[in-house]
Each structure stands twice: as structure tokens, then as C-alpha cells.
Symmetry: C2
Subunit: 197 residues, 2 copies
DNA sequence: GACAGAAAAGAACGACCGTGCTAATTTTGT
DNA sequence: ACAAAATTAGCACGGTCGTTCTTTTCTGTC
């Protein structure tokens, strides 16, 4: 890996960090250049537009998400254990890596009304994410640990709602009971998805 | 009401509209002035800083929220009917008034990392909102329509999560099944909160 | 209808924005 | 060690930002 790729990676890491706090729109090239201690034009040369910078930052965030959440979850045994791993992985992701919280949650609210390539990329990520949750829940159904007639997409929708509620309670409200509430809500969803008897 | 108050109200209405789409940070005085067909300085004279403009726009949004959601809900009969009215009112609010979706959802993600008076005002609103949901659920408990041992704050937390999931699915993903999923998730929460036998 | 006060406009400011262009510097392959 | 190539810096541009100051226009009252 050449020197260029290296600094580019460092730039994108910092960009993801910043965007998680002030959003993709608030991410400015000048500030970013200050943070990584480069000239504005030197940094700009790596991307050829702000949109490219944003797109590659989003892609970088996606890769990190895969590393922190997806891959570890797939390492867990199929079934409910894996569903739990997905959820725990997300909690880890939410308050570990980025001090600005989950960048996708922030971006979802920011970009939902702003058409363009960036929004499209985010939508792809979010669809994949919900589909992943549904698929993992599917393995639990296949193992007989969750109800056979469970609506997987509905389950993913509701689990995702709990995640969003967590983000809201913990990051905005600074509610110290957020974690407990979140876990309880998740267990409640799991309980409702278990086979009847 | 003098002429000043009138145009100020018109400005704030437009400001709320814009902020619901591009966020409070993206709300710029120049663009706002164009929208209401005023000069930038003429508009600015009504507020004496951008922060004041933002704060008063948030207050305006709060008033509209009270009109659209809170008051109609309080007109519904105590108990589960009122809980339903709160939820339906929010759905109405979410995709009626503002074409940018619920401005508070957008602001929550935007401001969760940006300390200041604006964030503080939002936090107050959101706390009130969650408390309101909990209180209304409490009336249903008092009427014997919901479990006596129901954790009201937990219930409000989970209902709120469903609202956030709705916003995500409908506004970002443009999922046409969002409404159905949302209603089903809400009914599921209600079912879980009903008295046992 | 004149007058006082409120409301709106006009012009300008310093700062930062994204983006090009050119020059200097550093890295790389030989 | 040297030339070629890749990377970074410097500088300038047109625009928009929030804000201030001064001047003009409008409103409501006697």
C-alpha cells in the first residue's frame, strides 16, 4: 500500500468520526484538513469533489460496521445466540467506536429528504442491515428456537426500532437507564417470537 | 396583533418547514429570506441572532405539535382509546404537516452531539413527550385496561421506538409497508401490556 | 394628513465554503 | 543517485454564511 492510500485511509477515518458528530453535511473540507494536519488542497486532491469524499467516508463506515457487528455475529452459533450477537454487536458499535454515536442513525435523519448518491448509498446499507437482521432471525426459526410463523421482516423492523430508541435515550437524553430499557425491550421482542408452548 | 408579529409568525412557519428538511443547522437566513420574500437584514431584525431564530422555530414546532397531537389525544376518552389516539396523532403529525417528516426526530439525531440552548430545548420537549406517553398509558392502567404492574416508562420507551422505526422505514427507505408494520408493532406492544387473563 | 415609531431594505464586513490551477516537495522504481 | 511519478502545498476565484450599520418605507395614532 502506497503512501497515498495510507493518508487517504487516515483522512477517511477522521471524516467518519466528524460526520458522526456533525453529519455528512456539516463535514467540511477545511476543518477535516486541520484535523489531519494537511492543506485543504492537498486533502482535496485525494477526492475530486465533496460528494466523493462523503461517499467514500460512508463506505469506510460500512466496512467498519461489518468488522464490528456483522462478522462477529456470523461467528456466533446459529439461532437465538446469533440474534443476540447481532444485537449486542450493535450496542457495542453504538457507544464504542464513534463518539458521535451510530453514524448511520445520524445520516438516516439527515439524508431522508435529500436525494442524491449519498442518500442512495445509505439506503442500500440500511436495507442490507434490516435484511441481515431478518436473515439471522431466520436461522433461529430454522433451529426451532423461534416460532415457525414468525414474520422475519416485521421482527427486524421492531428490533431496529429498539435500537433507534436506544440511540435516542442514551445519546440525546443521556438517560442512564437507556441500556437497561433497551435490553428489556429486546428480550420482550425475543419472548414474543418464541414458540408458543 | 401588529404587522411585525404577523410576518414573524410567517417566517417561523417557513423556518420550521425548512428545518424539518435540512435540519436546524442547514437552516440559513439567506435562503429563509428568499422563501418569505424579504431581505436578509429585514428578516434578521426580527431575531437578533441565528440561535434565537432556531430557538423560536423550535418553540413554534412545539406549539404545532401540541395542537396536532397532544390536544386531540386529551380529547379522547381515558384508557386504551387515548393511548391509541396519541399514537394515531403522531402518525398524522409525521406525514401530514411537514413534508420533511417529524422535525423532532430529525433534530434529535442532529443535535445529540451539539451542546447549546437549542439542544437543551429539544431535550425538554422530548422528555415531556415521553412522559406524556407514559402518563396516558397510566390512565389505561387506572381504567383496568392495561396491566397494573406495567412499567409506564418502559412502555413509553418501546412505543417511541416504534415511532422512530416508522420514520426510518417510511421516510428513508420509502417502504410502502411501513404503515402496516408500524401499526402491527404498536398492537403487539398493546397486547403485551394487557392484563393477563 | 402630519408625525413618531416600527418594520424592512441596502450595502458592506470578515470568515469560511468548495473547487480549480500551478508550483514545490516527497516518494518510488531503477 | 537520478528521473519519473505521485503527493502535498500555495494561492486565488466566486459564493454564501451570520452579523452590523445606515437609510428608506411603511403603520398606526392624534
Amino acid at each position: 500500500m502506497g503512501k497515498g492510500e495510507l493518508t487517504k485511509a487516515a483522512i477517511l477515518d477522521e471524516a467518519v468520526q466528524i460526520a458522526s458528530r456533525v453529519g455528512f453535511g456539516g463535514l467540511s473540507i477545511g476543518q477535516l484538513a486541520d484535523r489531519v494536519e494537511m492543506s485543504k488542497s492537498g486533502l482535496f486532491a485525494h477526492f475530486r469533489s465533496k460528494e466523493q469524499l462523503q461517499l467514500q467516508a460512508m463506505e469506510r463506515a460500512r466496512q467498519r460496521f461489518v468488522d464490528v457487528v456483522i462478522r462477529p455475529a456470523l461467528a456466533a452459533p446459529r439461532g437465538i445466540a446469533r440474534v443476540r450477537a447481532v444485537f449486542d454487536g450493535w450496542l457495542e458499535w453504538a457507544h464504542q467506536a464513534l463518539q458521535g454515536g451510530c453514524i448511520f442513525v445520524a445520516a438516516a435523519a439527515e439524508l431522508d429528504d435529500q436525494p442524491g448518491a449519498l442518500r442512495d448509498a445509505l439506503v442500500r446499507n440500511e436495507r442490507d442491515w434490516l435484511e441481515f437482521i431478518a436473515t439471522v432471525a431466520g436461522t433461529a426459526v430454522a433451529e426451532g428456537e423461534l416460532r415457525g410463523d414468525l414474520d422475519l421482516e416485521q421482527f427486524a423492523f421492531e428490533v431496529h426500532g429498539v435500537m433507534l430508541a436506544h440511540h435516542h435515550a442514551s445519546r440525546l437524553l443521556h438517560d442512564e437507564r437507556a441500556e437497561a430499557r433497551t435490553l428489556r425491550a429486546f428480550e420482550s421482542l425475543l419472548a414474543g417470537a418464541r414458540p408458543s408452548t
